[in-house]
């Protein structure tokens, strides 16, 4: 790659804030014609936000977007597309019941006498498909094709217009190896034609196979832009999930890390679920913080959901207090003293249209059944206690939860489970997308809970955080549990396990 051509897209100093979250802070980004550029970062790093800023879904609070050297400000994806920026999203969003040709040219059908010129449309669609080497009948109905082909049709639709920039947001997540190879072949064809391709994927192998250059984001800030050939996997992972300075340093080693030797509270024996997580063994002791480390898609959440009974395990068994527990669903897990804070706060955690008070007592109330309401007095004292203890703002129990900021929502969710006094608390990404102050408070809380005898399973994409607060670290890769490390381990040790390839001598600098 030479850097002679000027970048087709240049984003300078992009900042964008949502209520309570700084999604992007002063991010620079360049995209050159004829390259495949991978945008890297864990969930919440700001990848999607940056893409949406480029394609006109979001308008940045500050900063400028230049397309071929000219400043542009798109107010809708349609405008961006007219300017030559096409996007293909993770989920195929085409009309399954229309034909391939109709899908490719929807909204820009060739017309004749005020009607649609179907022969011309099929001909035009066939040309586009031929350009990327896909040989299917343009007159066939889209849903008769497998998802992978539908994805290719989506790409055909994207390049049917004059397309200078093609954004592929996790296009490979539902494809098998052969289909990925086909997609990559097409990407190379387009790249050689001079199209700039922005590629997002969580699969490192694929990123290294296809991309020429990568930009790494973390927590909404730019970590760096690198040529793929000059950045090895270990460095990349460090950059994606690496260190975070500042406020968090303050609580470093707030509690003396200790190896807990109490009785085993929860034991998983060969617990697994096909397609989610391979059978694993795991012991969690009372008063212990077990960290789960691994990249996105490595099976972190899946493991947690099995322990909670949110998904049914199809192998192995779970033993609580020495007795096997048949998990028929979350209710039986809750009855056994297991609590689970989902990473998807809005979708699986909070009930947005209910008040803080109702959300706080929901789990407790559900366990008691509808006919034994928690009395107003008990409710008020619980609410009062946790609003203060967790510093939830606004401290108004009647405020609807959806009006709260991300960090405060997370605290309400945490409080809902603390109210039930769980013996094992599973926290899935409790600190994602929340500001640093709230983050420190939640980490502090985990330490305190463990000291009081609660077992905590702590899942986070940020290794720094896991390494700091866990007494023991379980490492996952590709939906397998691959190792267990004790608390004193360093980030580098964990990174090495996650990266998985033996480190070549020349890079070990």
């Amino acid at each position: 790659m030479t850097e002679s051509p000027p970048p087709v897209v240049e984003m300078r100093g992009i900042s964008l804030a949502f209520p309570g979250v700084k999604a992007l802070q002063d991010v620079d980004f360049r995209l050159f014609p004829g390259e495949v550029h991978a945008l890297m970062g864990e969930n919440g790093a700001g990848k999607s936000t940056l893409i949406k800023t480029l394609t006109g879904v979001h308008t940045p609070d500050s900063g400028s977007v230049l397309l071929a050297g000219e400043s542009v400000a798109f107010s809708s994806p349609g405008q961006a597309q007219q300017a030559g920026i096409s996007t293909v999203y993770q989920e195929v969003n085409l009309c399954a019941n229309l034909t391939v040709a109709e899908n490719i040219l929807l909204g820009r059908e060739p017309r004749r006498f005020g009607g649609i010129d179907f022969p011309a449309m099929r001909k035009r669609a066939a040309e586009v498909l031929a350009r990327i080497g896909v040989h299917i009948d343009p007159a066939s109905v889209l849903e008769t094709h497998p998802i992978a082909v539908q994805q290719l049709v989506a790409i055909a639709r994207a390049i049917a217009v004059d397309c200078r920039v093609l954004v592929l947001d996790e296009p490979t997540s539902s494809l098998d190896a052969g289909e990925v190879a086909e997609l990559f072949r097409i990407m190379r064809v387009l790249r050689d034609e001079g199209v700039a391709i922005l590629f997002v994927s969580h699969f490192l192998d694929q990123v290294y196979e296809i991309s020429d250059r990568m930009t790494v984001l973390r927590n909404g800030t730019l970590v760096g832009e690198h040529l793929t050939s000059e950045l090895d996997r270990r460095d990349l992972i460090s950059k994606m999930i690496g260190r975070e300075l500042g406020a968090l340093e303050a609580i470093e080693d707030a509690s003396e890390r200790h190896s807990v030797s109490g009785p085993v509270l929860v034991r998983a024996e060969g617990l697994g679920r096909r397609g989610a997580i391979a059978p694993f063994d795991l012991d969690i002791r009372a008063g212990e913080v077990v960290g789960l480390a691994g990249l996105l898609g490595s099976g972190r959440t899946e493991l947690a959901r099995l322990l909670f009974g949110a998904d049914r395990a199809d192998s192995g068994r779970l033993i609580v207090d020495g007795t096997p527990l048949h998990l028929r669903g979350p209710r039986s897990a809750i009855a056994a003293g297991i609590a689970f804070c989902s990473e998807d706060r809005k979708g699986e955690g909070l009930v947005a249209d209910l008040s803080i008070r109702d959300n706080l007592v929901l789990a407790m109330q559900a366990a008691r059944g509808w006919s034994r309401p928690v009395s107003r007095k008990v409710k008020d004292s619980l609410v009062e206690k946790y609003l203060t203890a967790l510093d939830i703002r606004p401290a108004n129990p009647d405020a609807l939860v959806r009006t709260l900021s991300g960090g405060n929502q997370q605290k309400v969710l945490l409080a809902r489970w603390l109210v039930t006094e769980p013996r094992l608390l599973i926290l899935d990404e409790p600190t994602r997308g929340i500001d640093i102050g709230a983050k420190a408070q939640i980490q502090q809380l985990v330490t305190t809970l463990a000291a009081e005898g609660t077992a905590v399973l702590f899942i986070s994409a940020e290794l720094e955080e896991v390494v700091r607060i866990a007494d023991r670290i379980v490492v996952l890769r590709d939906r397998h549990k691959i190792a267990e490390l004790d608390g004193g381990s360093t980030i580098d040790e964990v990174v090495e396990l996650i990266a998985g390839d033996p480190v070549p001598e020349e890079v070990a600098s």
Partner: protein, 326 residues
Amino acid sequence: MKNRLLWPILALVALLLLNLVVTPSFFALRIQDGHLYGGLVDVLKNGAPTLLIAIGMTLVIATRGIDLSVGAVAAIAAAVTCVHIGTSPDAGTALAGMAIALVLCAALGLWNGFLVAGLGIQPIIATLVLMTAGRGIAMLVTEGQIITVNNDAYRQVGAGFVVLPVSILISLAVLGLVALTTRKTALGMLIEAVGVNPEASRLAGVRSRTIIWTVYVFAAVCAGIAGLMISSNVSAADANSNGLWIEMDAILAVVIGGTSLAGGRYSLTGTLLGSLIIQTLTTTVYTIGVAAEVTLVFKAVVVITVCLIQSPKARAALSFRKVAVS
């Protein structure tokens, strides 16, 4: 809460005033044989079945559901009771008939609940099954005939008076009971939680399925009682016309009362107001002498107006003084 109910209240008052202008005696009440008569009492009496069904519908809608089968269930209840009573003037036979009918309605509610909560079928489709099939069942029960009965005990349900019409007393009692049960226990909050976010509720340990199942059974029983009122009022069961389109009136009443079809927070007071608006509207059509052929159009215009004034967007667009809106 008060804000949400403001517009329905205004709409109801406006309709009542319209009636007063057209029929100055509309608000007049008189007592005859210890019974209360008058325009307002008529509104209450005729609106009782709709109100009852709307109460059940409110809870169903709060769980993100809908029940289209209530009209058909009402017809079945009427048919079963009247066929059971036959020519008997006996109070015992009437009671037994009503009991059988209501048990059957509960079973039909179980069926709806099974389709929705058990099999996960979309509520609108699941209850459409019984909406269509239910009329057929009622026809089978009555063998296609209009069954007339002559039973004093049965007549009390829909046409009787204890100072006020018995039917409205029943509906108001059910309303009070539901309000008490859902708001004094945790049932209301759990129903709302399931309606707002079913998955989050499940993960919090709420028995979502049981709750959804229960509200469909309750809605069907409400529909059954309403069916008894309707047929008792005329001492006859007509499989074709008993409770016809009442599901639409009930859904409308719930929506006018401010409960969102998207599920979640519900308002029983709102539903009461909504039912009254609908019934007042029907009465108004007669009292102000709207021609029969434009009756439906007139109703539609009023309903659209009520819906528009409840929509913040429409209010903002209609208002010249934007300040007042914000």
